[in-house]
């Protein structure tokens, strides 16, 4: 059976959930071979094996953390060459994080292959994998395939379930020779994002967001309280972020995160096209807005026309009561 390379997104050996989803998709196409780079890479193997990786190629060189993007492109290229030489390579799957997308594109150019970004589904087909993308703020859905070379496809979070599928997960050292460009952009400092204790925005099953209607950073505690009652992540519109009420890392939309949770609750958000671009593929959408004409109501499964300062705390109380 052909092999599929899966680029592993991990933090010091802790595999991030979108990578496990990639393994589910990779198994539809062939045998997943994972590539894990940087500090802690070898520690990813057990989790990856549990979810279907037949092999885990690792390299823990310092260059991956010290320089931007290019060392990882060099490594993936080495992995592509190693796997192609030993057998047949059906595709390279990469999570759709900002960095991994850049890695995927440069890799594709180097190996003479087409690249598809932000797929929401990948299916096997006799002419090679077919990717589904959601475009124009999710108003269209396209099916695209790579017509030249080995398909390189980046996949958005929440595009597939995480499935247990135990495989060997044999760890092998990947031998990488860094290119002249590898050390071009130096990372001179790194400040890890503080953990809020809440689920990761892009990975959460439920997202509770606040917009301009929240009217002040102190009022975001109402949004956070609702989120916590549901075990949800907190999102914000750009208006709320630009006003300085909530961090940019929580922004949902075209220039923020794209989310696709089971449930999205928009509070005091009008539903501008750029916001919709980041949440329109959510399974169930709920909104609280005092303006009955707000465009967000065109998307909702359930909407409450009302003041969020009344409706949201009541909802939070009710959830707490019901959950006991």
């Amino acid at each position: 059976m052909a092999e599929v390379l899966v680029y592993v997104d991990h933090v010091d050996g802790a595999v991030r959930k979108p990578t496990l989803e990639l393994l589910t998709l990779a198994r539809r196409i062939g045998d997943p071979v994972a590539v894990a780079l940087g500090a802690g890479a070898a520690n990813t193997a057990a989790t990856l094996a549990e979810h279907g990786a037949v092999k885990v190629l690792t390299d823990e060189a310092a260059e991956y953390a010290d320089y931007l993007v290019v060392p990882k492109v060099d490594a993936l290229q080495a992995a592509v060459e190693a796997v192609s030489a030993a057998g047949s390579l059906a595709a390279v799957l990469v999570p759709s994080s900002a960095e991994a997308k850049e890695i995927a594109a440069r890799l594709a150019l180097r190996i003479g292959s087409g690249v598809i970004t932000d797929a929401v589904d990948v299916e096997a087909d006799d002419k090679g994998p077919v990717a589904t993308q959601s475009v124009f703020a999710a108003s269209y859905s396209t099916k695209t395939r790579v017509s030249k070379g080995t398909p390189v496809i980046t996949v958005k979070p929440n595009s597939a379930p995480v499935e247990a599928a135990p495989a060997a997960g044999t760890v092998e050292a990947l031998s990488v020779t860094f290119s002249a460009q590898a050390t071009g952009t130096k990372v001179t400092g790194r400040t890890p994002r503080e953990s809020t204790g809440r689920p990761e925005l892009t990975e959460a099953a439920i997202v509770v967001s606040g917009g301009r209607g929240v009217n002040g950073s102190e009022n975001f505690s109402i949004i956070e309280a609702l989120a916590d009652s549901l075990g949800a992540a907190v999102g914000a519109s750009r208006a709320a972020v630009d006003a300085g009420w909530y961090p940019h890392t929580n922004q949902v939309g075209q220039t923020g995160k794209s989310v696709s949770p089971q449930l999205y609750i928009a509070n005091g958000i009008s539903g501008a096209i750029q916001h919709r671009a980041g949440m329109q593929t959510s399974k169930t959408i709920v909104a609280v807005n005092k303006d009955a004409e707000a465009p967000i109501f065109d998307l909702v499964d359930y909407g409450v026309v009302g003041d969020l300062f009344e409706v949201v705390p009541q909802l939070t109380e009710e959830i707490k009561t019901r959950k006991g």
Partner: protein
């Protein structure tokens, strides 16, 4: 020596319009008004600020696109860029990201550059990978997705806010930079700027000028194929209630029914 800045910009269909696909599954650019991608305005803005700080700098805006794309160049010129290059060729229709990066890289090399500045992504394609591709082709450092950028003594520095960490980056020129919408509000063109833009030079280049063969670009040169594009069915109309004092409870009821609680 003068700091040569090239800003890449894209002319895109207005996102608030009814965007759709043409019969050949390329983006239909005829039925919706176009404009300079808002995300490229941030690139023009940072170029202007960097040029202000430099003793001597020249900003060239570069676009690849149909005739109307000149509008995007005019807007950038009216914001304060010095000159413009328009790469236009019938054979470019349907070019994918890899092909576009070839055209941009060749044009940037022909124009001459110390610094390339791009927006974080286009507002229509939204891939966000062109700056990385252009850097790969030019063989120069990629310093991308910056929320803060500065250039001094032939070195570009910036802050890149990632998913798990915020990074400080540094590279020597020449380099390719991209900036996010967090990098600072873009200025509005002044009346004087708009008048001055009319007199600024706009050069037109075609594929021959860039020594690119027709089969390297366009739909035929594309390394990806779109099989189909279907409009997503409109979401079925949901239930909308007016809060009469029980709105929160009613919403909880709905969530219970959907098994979220």
């Amino acid at each position: 020596m003068s700091l040569r800045i090239v800003v890449t910009v894209k002319y895109v269909p207005d996102a608030t319009g009814d965007r759709h696909f043409a019969e050949d599954l390329t983006v239909d650019r005829d039925d919706v008004d176009g404009l300079l991608s808002e995300l490229d305005e941030y690139a023009v803005e940072q170029a202007l600020q960097i040029a202000d700080e430099a003793d001597d700098a020249e900003i060239t805006v570069l676009t690849v696109g149909p005739e109307d794309a000149k509008d995007a160049l005019r807007k950038a010129l009216s914001m304060g860029a010095d000159k413009a290059i328009h790469v236009e060729d019938d054979d470019l229709h349907g070019t994918d990201a890899i092909g576009t990066s070839l055209v941009l890289a060749k044009a940037i090399e022909k124009a001459g550059y110390d610094l390339v500045i791009s927006g974080m992504a286009s507002t229509d394609g939204t891939m966000g990978v062109l700056p990385a591709l252009v850097a790969e082709r030019l063989g120069v450092p990629q310093v991308t997705l910056l929320s803060e950028v500065s250039v001094a003594d032939g070195v570009v520095k910036g802050r890149r806010d990632g998913d798990t960490a915020s990074e400080q980056l540094e590279a020597s020129l020449p380099a390719v930079v991209s900036v996010t919408d967090q990098s600072g509000e873009a200025r509005y063109p002044s009346f004087k700027g708009i008048m001055a833009a009319k007199k600024k030079p706009v050069q037109s280049w075609d594929l021959e000028d860039l020594e690119i063969e027709a089969d390297e670009v366009g739909l035929d040169g594309s390394w990806t194929t779109v099989d189909s594009a279907t409009e997503r069915p409109a979401r079925t109309a949901g239930t909308i209630v007016k809060d009469e004092g029980e709105g929160g409870k009613q919403l909880a009821e709905f969530l219970v029914g959907q098994k979220f609680i």
